[in-house]
């Protein structure tokens, strides 16, 4: 019994982080229709930013998180204005190649600047844990989960209630009609891309004290993120949450139940990706944003 509760808690915590890592991909695809293969590098750069702020300025990764998020947002906004903007009308293949190229450039830039050594940051919460009945709560994972949930809720609230959030949803559903409302679409694009990058950087900041950092850490994450958004339906934010929770729980279950499970857990996302592409290519929620898009 205790094992199952522990599994549920661990799966939930992992799912929360995955949600944060994947939701940016969902947002930028839902609004701009760009599949951003460089999203994992936003996560990686967020991690390194948190690591260096901790190493050089003794800032706890939790304290520096607002800075990391802000930096990620500004970087994403500028990247869109300077680079991505030019391929908006281009064929999908060009867009994919561009973001994939950006991903390679950023990875190798990180190797050049910081070498390929594994690094990790520590937070005040890193070594704290509490036993709650049969369940062991690792504080670092708990705090990361809570922060991830807060950020995702903030995004959903912004989309739902703010003037710009409403305009963003309008652009996702019908660009031409949004233009007729007087909504400056290019600005909404850049803003969405910035927010998407900020969320990726936030995931990176939280991961900095949970997993070892390397210039290549973004790639496996982005594969998982794609499995998640494919599972939930590309472009659907609610679908991304459902997909992330499902992946978090499944990976945790596999690593608990199978012998040598933590190795197998890394493969779960591929099984999902393959399964969903074969059985239900539109995802669980599917088409929520896509259907009316032109």
């Amino acid at each position: 019994m205790g094992l199952y509760v522990q599994l549920l808690v661990d799966g939930l915590f992992l799912g929360g982080l995955y949600t944060l890592a994947a939701i940016g991909i969902s947002l930028s695809y839902g609004v701009i229709r760009i599949i951003n293969f460089a999203h994992g590098e936003f996560v990686m750069l967020g991690s390194y930013a948190a690591f260096w702020l901790a190493t050089l300025y003794k800032l706890d990764p939790l304290t520096s998180l607002p800075l990391v998020v802000l930096g990620g947002g500004v970087a994403g906004y500028l990247l869109f204005r300077w680079v991505i903007r030019h391929v908006l009308e281009a064929p999908h293949l060009n867009q994919i190649l561009l973001t994939f190229g950006i991903s390679l450039v950023l990875q190798n830039l990180a190797v050049v600047l910081w070498t390929g050594d594994l690094r990790s940051a520590t937070s005040v919460v890193s070594y704290a844990a509490a036993e709650l009945g049969p369940v062991l709560l690792t504080f670092s994972r708990l705090i990361a989960f809570v922060v991830a949930v807060l950020l995702v809720v903030a995004l959903l609230g912004w989309l739902k209630w703010s003037e710009l959030g409403r305009a963003t949803r309008a652009v996702a559903q019908n660009q031409q009609a949004a233009l007729l409302m007087g909504i400056p679409i290019r600005f909404i694009y850049a803003l969405s891309f910035g927010i998407s990058a900020a969320l990726g950087a936030a995931a990176g900041g939280l991961l900095s004290f949970l997993i070892p950092l390397s210039p290549w850490m973004g790639f496996p994450l982005v594969v998982k993120a794609f499995a998640i958004v494919a599972l939930g339906g590309l472009g659907s934010v609610m679908g991304a949450i459902a997909g992330a929770m499902l992946l978090g729980l499944s990976e945790t279950a596999v690593s608990y139940v199978l012998p040598g499970g933590s190795g197998w857990a890394e493969g779960v996302s591929f099984v999902f990706l393959l399964g969903i592409l074969l059985l239900r290519p539109r995802g669980i929620y599917g088409q929520a944003l896509e259907e009316q898009h032109r």
Partner: protein, 236 residues
């Protein structure tokens, strides 16, 4: 300032295909002007050109004496011209209220949002009843009311309506035309594109008939009703 829309010698089209050739047209304050013509005559192209979604290759397009040719579409709304497009183009997953709120996104309309909402709900009480429904779940007539209401939320001085009666039951068509007449009576100019020529001419002051991208007849609504070009465009 005389708020008058003037088009002169407009050529426009898509890619290489020219749809409009040397088209001229005028709409003044508070008058309903209808634009008639068969399918493919260029009526929608004309509205898209005025709204800035399509760039004409030649001609003059002015609003209140100002050149509109190089103004991007989102700025044209701010100048007081709102389009209720063909096929309504609502935001289907957003609620009726959210659709209306988006209608007043532009800077000059936003401060008056509550007042505009009151006016639109007064014109279409049905929208008030259904304000929390997703727009995609509305009936055809309600969607049309929402499309017109959303355009009105921008507090336009000129309203462009693309086939507001299409696909509606006859009883609803009459209601929609009646509300258009009420909108114009508040001093808003209306350029009305319609398949339903006689319904449109009944509320319009003047009209233009397009055929193959050219204006073939223009005149007072009463004269147009009997004009052979109108008969030809719709019966022939």
């Amino acid at each position: 300032m005389d708020e008058r829309l003037q088009l002169e010698g407009i050529d426009a089209g898509y890619g290489g295909a020219r749809v409009l050739e040397g088209v001229g047209l005028e709409v003044g304050v508070g008058e309903v002007v209808c634009l008639l013509g068969a399918n493919g005559a260029g009526k929608t192209t004309m509205l898209l050109t005025i709204a800035g979604l399509l760039r004409p290759s030649a001609g003059r397009l002015t609003w209140a004496g100002q050149d509109l040719l190089r103004v991007p579409p989102h700025r044209i709304v701010e100048q007081g011209i709102a389009l209720s497009p063909e096929g309504r183009q609502l935001f289907p997953n957003l609620t009726v209220l959210e659709n209306l709120q988006l209608g007043s996104y532009c800077r000059h309309a936003r401060p008056y949002r509550q007042a505009s909402l009151g006016e639109v709900y007064a014109l279409f009480p049905r929208l008030h009843e259904r304000r929390d429904q997703a727009a995609g779940l509305l009936s055809g007539g309600e969607q049309q009311m929402l499309a017109i209401g959303r355009a009105l939320m921008a507090r336009p001085r000129l309203l462009l309506l693309d086939e507001p009666s299409v696909g509606l039951a006859p009883r609803l068509v009459a209601a929609v035309f009646e509300s258009i007449a009420r909108i114009a009576s508040q001093g808003i100019g209306v350029l009305l594109v319609e398949q339903n020529a006689y319904g449109a001419l009944a509320i319009a002051k003047r009209g233009y008939v397009l055929a193959n991208g050219r204006v073939v007849t223009a005149g007072l609504a009463a004269q147009l009703e009997a004009a052979p070009e109108v008969q030809a465009a719709f019966i022939g």
